[in-house]
């Protein structure tokens, strides 16, 4: 699609870079811009014991995953020559993604009004933690902060325990994916109107709808939703059951009996035991009342099987069940492998590794993984020559002025 779409990605962390990454999958040319003094914090803090030549900033798995498909340059926007270079690039680009807090936006001259006045066809995606207005507009967040403030964390956890974070800092991927949708929406509109857009995305407001199934319990009843743990209000039994351990580590299977029609299937898969023939168990209410007993019996059945064996036996009986997979098991999952989901990418420092592929499959214009995440400033000379026609002398001068560098110069 976006064969000719050029995206400048000034963002850091996960959400903004993920939006730009998703656009790259469909052919957008993405140029990631960092500064040697202030490189993407997702590369990690400089290590207190770092020696010259330290490559730790090229070794962060999260950074290296979500910045694939991009070229990387450094431009220091706090230097006037850096500013003008940036605007030269911006004039040739369709989209700018940034997620700096308001204080930094002002310092770097990235105020939306100024940018859109100067570049009226620009689609500007600004991601902020809590929005660009309101009493908390200057507050900062990482994905876990956003997830919690959106009400998602409060419903995670055991009924008798504390709230728990999801495993993926949910505020980040929620905003990243929606940011990509927002840009595609504005680009489509631009074809009709000729005008760019300023998309103001509050990560908090983007995350809240993802927890709406539980949040709306409050709107419906005036009660705070409870932490159900592994149970479910409309499915019983519903749980995470122990299986035979593997590699010295415990293993589990998720089983969900979705409705009354599922129950005889589950019973049959369990071998039609005497206890399960109790007529009271034929209704949701009956099974909820006997949930502890069912859990004990189902758990005894699963315990003698591997999590995959349990899943397969239950699935062949038509019961919704899924092995709880660890990271290495996801990489080896036969279904994901058959579909070629993970893709091997060679990174100059980290070598070859499997990364998640595009979870969106287009039949005629398939998504593309074209390369690894860039090293800091890796493509600076190439981009300045190719896109801006800078000469070797000009590029050397810019380097002397400190506008660009490939060496991290970040302080603590």
């Amino acid at each position: 699609m976006a064969e000719r779409m050029r995206v400048l990605d000034l963002s850091q962390g996960w959400a903004g870079p993920m939006a730009a990454y998703m656009l790259s999958l469909f052919g957008a040319e993405v140029i990631k811009i960092e500064a040697a003094r202030y490189y993407d914090w997702w590369r990690g803090s400089p290590h207190p014991d770092a020696q010259p030549g330290d490559q730790r900033h090229e070794s962060a798995p999260n950074h290296n995953s979500i910045n694939r498909n991009k070229r990387g340059i450094t431009i220091d926007l706090q230097i006037p020559e850096g500013q003008s270079l940036f605007h030269e690039l911006l004039a040739m680009s369709d989209v700018l993604v940034e997620n700096y807090p308001p204080r930094v936006v002002r310092k770097l001259g990235l105020e939306p009004a100024g940018l859109t006045a100067r570049h009226p066809r620009l689609v500007l995606l600004s991601l902020s933690a809590f929005g660009d207005s309101g009493p908390e507009k200057d507050y900062v967040a990482i994905g876990t902060t956003v997830e919690s403030m959106a009400g998602i964390t409060a419903t995670n956890g055991y009924p008798d325990g504390p709230p728990l974070l999801t495993t993926n800092a949910y505020g980040d991927p929620a905003s990243g994916a929606l940011g990509a949708f927002a840009v595609l929406t504005a680009i489509r509109e631009r074809r009709r109107t000729g005008q760019g857009r300023h998309i103001a995305l509050s990560e908090l407001e983007t995350a809240i709808p993802h927890g709406a199934d539980r949040l709306l319990e409050y709107a419906a009843t005036g009660r705070n939703p409870r932490r159900y743990g592994n149970r479910h209000p409309s499915m019983a039994p519903h749980g995470v059951y122990p299986c035979r351990s593997a590699n010295g580590s415990d293993r589990f299977v998720v089983i969900a009996c979705r409705d009354d029609a599922d129950w005889p299937r589950l019973r049959a898969a369990l071998g039609d035991p005497e206890w399960a023939r109790e007529p009271l168990l034929e209704t949701l209410e009956g099974r909820r009342a006997a949930h502890d007993l069912i859990d004990e019996r189902v758990g005894a059945w699963t315990a003698s099987r591997s999590h995959r064996e349990a899943m397969e036996e239950l699935q062949s009986a038509g019961v919704a069940a899924g092995a709880v997979l660890s990271a290495s098991e996801i990489l080896a999952d036969p279904h994901l492998q058959a579909r070629g989901f993970h893709v091997a990418v060679e990174h100059p420092v980290m070598g070859s590794a499997l990364y998640p592929g595009p979870a969106i499959r287009l039949s005629k214009t398939p998504a593309r993984i074209t390369g690894p995440a860039p090293l800091l400033g890796q493509h600076t000379e190439e981009v300045l020559k190719e896109l801006l026609g800078k000469s070797d002398d000009e590029i050397a001068t810019l380097q002397r002025l400190g506008v660009w560098s490939k060496e991290p110069a970040r302080k603590g």
Binding site: F26, P61, S65, S148, L184, E189, H198, A220, V254
Partner: protein, 409 residues
């Protein structure tokens, strides 16, 4: 018909010219077409005469189940039209094909092969509808060993890597409270649909396939890529975000829970200052990430002992005053009462029966034309627009006379 804003006419919205036929059911498809509708697309929901099962899923208004009382259904389908068609019948399939004549997108969540067997997949429709984008959202995709497997959000999140490392070490892992993976899948459906629409002038319509397990596994890169780099599996770590990153997680407060997220070295220094213990910055136990990992328990106890004496909301504002990305863990009531969201007019007003309820608003704003605090159009009752929509497609006669499969609500 799109949700209307007092200050905005529908035609100004970016996706206003789009027409979407949404034959999907469930959360992922419903959220996908909701996103398209929120930014202006006309969405016609095609559901079976017995209704999308989500109509009978809670939460229900005042806890009373009823056909028009599911808040989740009403919120997801606000402003859409409902046409009741039985796609198990030839008449229903024929009517759907007629509806597709003026559409840009067909969205479905049918089991693999289900659309093809009815001649409703993109390949079958292409000859007559060369520009139609057909988006399919399923648990596992159209092929592969799990293609025919049964799924719920818990099953999908287990197979996508979101369950293994969540929970306390000595207890079974725990599934998220919300069906997050299905919402994420819906967003992927919307992104894929927009990407395919962008390519229509070049290649015509095409099939878009989104599998929930993959959309979920894409966000498990935290663990899958780290495992390959380090050889270490992430395991359950209770209140901590990760067994591999100390002191990002939940801590007790005097009256609730705090989020303390020390991701960068300077976060820790400022936290020690806030605790009145600046000297801990030079403590060798906490100086490097490796040292912090080795002394994670001591650090957790030290910080938790301090947060335990803090008021959760005050902790949030005081931490943010120091530039720290820390938070409290609001309940649903506290999210609804957020002064920040109030000031930004975040919540939309949705009519449900006799009542109006506050529901989550726009996930992003478009400066100048799409701001917050909108009054939404209600969700349609089952088949509410069957007659009108079919009549507009030129099949009024069929609808009223010969086709018992077509039904008004």
């Amino acid at each position: 018909m799109s949700p209307e804003s007092a200050s905005t006419s529908t035609m100004e919205l970016p996706l206003a010219p789009l027409r979407v036929i949404d034959a999907s059911s469930g959360i992922a498809g419903g959220f996908c077409s909701k996103l398209l509708a929120q930014y202006g697309a006309t969405v016609v929901k095609v559901e079976p005469p017995w209704g999308d099962p989500l109509r009978s899923a809670g939460p229900f208004l005042d806890d009373e189940p009823g056909p028009e009382r599911s808040l989740l259904f009403n919120w997801l389908h606000s402003g859409k039209q409902s046409v009741a068609l039985d796609l198990e019948s030839t008449g229903g399939v024929r009517s759907l094909r007629r509806l597709l004549a003026g559409a840009d997108v067909l969205l479905d969540s049918a089991a693999p092969g289900g659309m093809r067997s009815r001649g409703l997949d993109q390949a079958s429709l292409e000859a007559s509808l060369p520009r139609l984008v057909c988006t399919s959202i399923t648990p596992f995709g159209q092929d592969g060993p799990y293609a025919g497997y049964e799924a719920t959000f818990g099953v999908l999140q287990a197979l996508g890597g979101w369950v293994h490392a969540m929970g306390e070490r000595e207890r079974p892992p725990v599934i998220t409270g919300s069906a997050l993976g299905l919402f994420m899948t819906g967003v992927y459906g919307a992104v894929g649909t927009m990407a395919a629409l962008e390519a229509v002038d070049e290649v015509g319509g095409q099939a878009v396939e989104v599998a929930a397990q993959e959309a979920i596994a894409a966000a498990a890169m935290f663990d899958t890529v780290r495992f390959q780099y380090t050889g270490v599996e992430r395991e359950r770590a209770g209140r901590s975000f990760s067994s591999l990153i100390p002191l990002v997680g939940i801590q007790p407060a005097r009256d609730g829970w705090c989020g303390v997220h020390v991701l960068l070295s300077w976060h820790l220094g400022r936290l020690f200052e806030a605790m009145g213990r600046p000297e801990l910055r030079d403590d060798p136990r906490f100086r490097s990430p490796e040292a912090r990992e080795a002394n994670a328990e001591a650090l957790d106890a030290l910080v938790g002992g301090w947060t335990r004496r803090q008021d959760a909301v005050s902790f949030y504002h005081a931490s943010q005053g120091r530039g720290l990305p820390f938070n409290f863990v609001p309940t649903a009531a506290q999210v609804y009462a957020s002064p920040q969201l109030e000031a930004r007019d975040y919540w939309d007003a949705l009519p449900v029966g006799e009542r109006t309820v506050r529901v989550p608003g726009l996930p992003f704003r478009l400066a100048g034309s799409l701001e917050g605090g909108r009054g939404l159009a209600p969700a349609p009752s089952l088949g509410e627009h069957t007659r009108a929509v079919l009549a507009a497609a030129g099949i009024a006669e069929a609808a009223s006379a010969e086709s018992p499969e077509v039904r008004d609500g």
